[in-house]
């Protein structure tokens, strides 16, 4: 999108204007206090949640209450079939009173790579059932296009493998996806540190979703603040437009009026 078509640079998903281009995962923090402080420091409005069977031996933390006031984006993490993902989405809508769903259907537990066939099927069913569908997908322009055609509210291509911290593995693909996409592109997974988030945004992503990079850093609250700035910096750089890369030096100071000789 050209900057002058949208001077306020608002970020809209399914008609909802979001003030932050950072979506934050809530899993794996050292404790609840750090989770709450990290969410606050990140500025994220949207936080992700999972849906799991209750366990009777331990109560577990009441994350829903801890983070009330944020917009919940429940996920279908761990599902391996469209059927399980659809049921998990239905349960999530009931539990959290939101029709937003991050659809994740994985092909195997080693790579956590999306199973495209099942993902497309789940997306189609959930769009039909009235969900705002945000599918976690491959960094493949055609898959992203198919998902958008099915009615996904955004597409969420992977930067690299979930939890790997490898950053944006295929910047050329991601840039192409962002340039062609008819819906917002949210880079999900693989972000390791602030510069990775900035790179994703510089390539034209509308937003970044990350979890492990913050939760497992030495200081999650500090890293959350860093990610907040990284996403803003990347977005501004994208809108400003970077200079072309050159193979040789180009002086920036005037070449006339040099002192001496």
């Amino acid at each position: 999108m050209k900057a002058d078509m949208n001077p306020s640079d608002s970020f809209i998903i399914a008609g909802v204007t979001l003030g932050s281009r950072l979506f934050l995962g809530t899993a794996g923090y050292p404790n609840q206090r750090i989770l709450v402080d990290a969410v606050e420091a990140s500025g994220a409005e949207v936080v992700t949640m999972s849906i799991r069977r209750i366990s009777l031996d331990r109560r577990g933390s009441d994350t829903v209450n801890l983070l009330k006031g944020r917009r919940f984006l429940p996920n279908t993490a761990g599902c391996e079939t469209a059927r399980d993902a659809v049921l998990t989405a239905e349960l999530a809508r009931e539990a959290l009173d939101t029709n937003w769903i991050k659809v994740e259907v994985i092909g195997d537990r080693e790579t956590l790579y999306p199973d495209v066939t099942e993902l497309l099927d789940a997306t189609r069913q959930l769009v039909d059932a009235g969900f705002v569908v945000l599918p976690y997908c491959n960094d493949d322009p055609i898959v992203c296009q198919r998902l958008a055609d099915l009615g996904a509210a955004a597409v969420m291509p992977m930067g690299s493998l979930i939890g790997s911290g490898m950053g944006v593995a295929n910047p050329a693909n991601l840039e192409r996806i962002c340039r062609r996409s008819s819906v917002p592109v949210i880079v999900d997974a693989g972000i390791g540190t602030a510069s990775d988030a900035t790179i994703a945004m510089e390539l034209g992503a509308s937003a970044v979703l990350l979890n492990t990079a913050v939760a497992k850093s030495n200081d999650p609250v500090l890293m959350a603040g860093s990610m907040r700035h990284a996403v803003v910096a990347g977005r501004l750089a994208f809108r400003a437009g970077r200079i072309p890369r050159r193979g040789r030096a180009e002086p920036s100071s005037p070449q006339l009026g040099l002192v001496g000789s």
Binding site: I51, R53, V64, L91, A95, N211
Partner: protein
């Protein structure tokens, strides 16, 4: 009556989902089912339908909650 609750066999006297919910979550001392949801035999049952949803021998019940996730 034998049920399968969250994948585990369970002997239960609960006639419907409200009773099963109370039985299964007694030790969690919850104020409300906010953040929770229930499926019966692979389909969601909304909270306002729990009372009228009677249980039968061999039913598969899933009781889930929203929790931390990525």
């Amino acid at each position: 009556m034998k049920l399968l609750v969250n994948g585990k066999p369970r002997e239960s006297a609960s006639a419907n989902l409200v009773e099963l919910w109370q039985e299964e979550t007694r030790e969690l001392s919850l104020d409300s089912p906010k953040g929770y949801a229930v499926a019966l035999n692979g389909a969601l049952v909304r909270k306002d339908r729990w009372a009228e949803t009677t249980l039968m021998e061999g039913d598969r019940v899933e009781i889930v909650r929203a929790m931390q996730g990525g």
